[in-house]
Symmetry: C2
Subunit: 190 residues, 2 copies
């Protein structure tokens, strides 16, 4: 951030009065520009014991498989966002169920909220951000071609919980190992 989005003047990074951390502040009109984490909302779409995955048609992780999920938009609920992303990425209609996983990714200022979802019909297909969409049984999941560690961990917990006969909220932090782009430490909290 270099300029004030309200008046167009240059901003500077300083600790505002009464605050305790640096913010981008406009010296001309006084606006403080807060920057906060984003939510990524999505679901695990279920159909007769299988789950729906999408193969990404966009970067990052082009060509790899993921759960339908994306940035929550203003004006919607987390559940509405999860259903919308499933419609956009997999052209699939779901009934959103309980929250299943909540993962913090503090190094990129994101919180993932993934719900269980029940596919309402088998009428699905790739949206513009997907190359391919299909149902996978547990032993068909392409574990070595999943796009994101948070998806791998959520699916791993999901199948383990299902084998154990019950689901409950799984929560944790995914911490990037210093100096390593693709290695994470996973701290499970619930």
């Amino acid at each position: 951030m270099k300029y004030c989005s309200e008046c167009g003047s240059p901003v500077s990074l300083r600790v505002p009065e009464g605050d305790n951390r640096p913010r981008y502040a406009c010296e001309h009109c006084g606006t403080i520009h807060y920057q906060n984490p984003n939510m990524v909302v999505g679901c695990i779409p279920e159909w007769e014991g299988r789950v729906l995955l999408c193969r990404r048609a966009i970067e990052p992780r082009y060509g790899l498989w993921t759960l339908p999920a994306g940035f929550m938009e203003n004006g919607e609920s987390t559940q509405q966002g999860a259903a919308r992303e499933t419609l956009e990425e997999a052209d699939a209609r779901v009934e959103i169920g309980p929250l299943y996983s909540l993962f913090n990714l503090p190094h990129i200022n994101q919180v993932y909220l993934l719900y269980r979802g029940r596919l309402l019909d088998r009428d699905f297909g790739p949206g513009v951000e997907s190359l391919e969409v299909r149902l996978f049984s547990e032993d068909e999941v392409p574990w070595d071609r999943l796009a994101f560690p948070v998806v791998t961990e959520t699916l791993r917990l999901y199948f383990a919980d299902r084998a154990n006969g019950g689901f409950s909220l799984r929560s944790g932090d995914m911490l990037r190992q210093p100096g390593e782009q693709r290695r994470y430490q996973i701290k499970l909290l619930e």
Copy 2:
């Protein structure tokens, strides 16, 4: 938003190519400025059957009581944010437990995430944003002087669940009634 925070040129509201909703976009440098909901993180600090509430020293709802909670910051987890807000507003140290309530407030683009929290000691007091901080048993809670409907609903569910012997995640939407500033419809989902 009137100006681009990257180059200072005027922005316009338009649907970018490949997108499906209007965004503020810079006609000069091409930056798209996404606006997304914020998380408010906090906790229900517990001590020997009582809960800690803070009386607000700031607007909105100056002088009314609330749970310690505030906007999640970049670089932290939801649990860290909940503990930080409790320290800042009540000068209290908590061990953050399970997520207890998740409420969507789509009319103001906020998602509340309130955890159960265990106070580590009785050494607490008002932070700069609080006039007063104290422990309340269920029958002492100032129900008619609580600051926010999301706090009232969370505490109501909390004491009901406690009376029933168990807590589980409570989730819902708080929808403002059209034309009414202070009346909400509460839709419980979990």
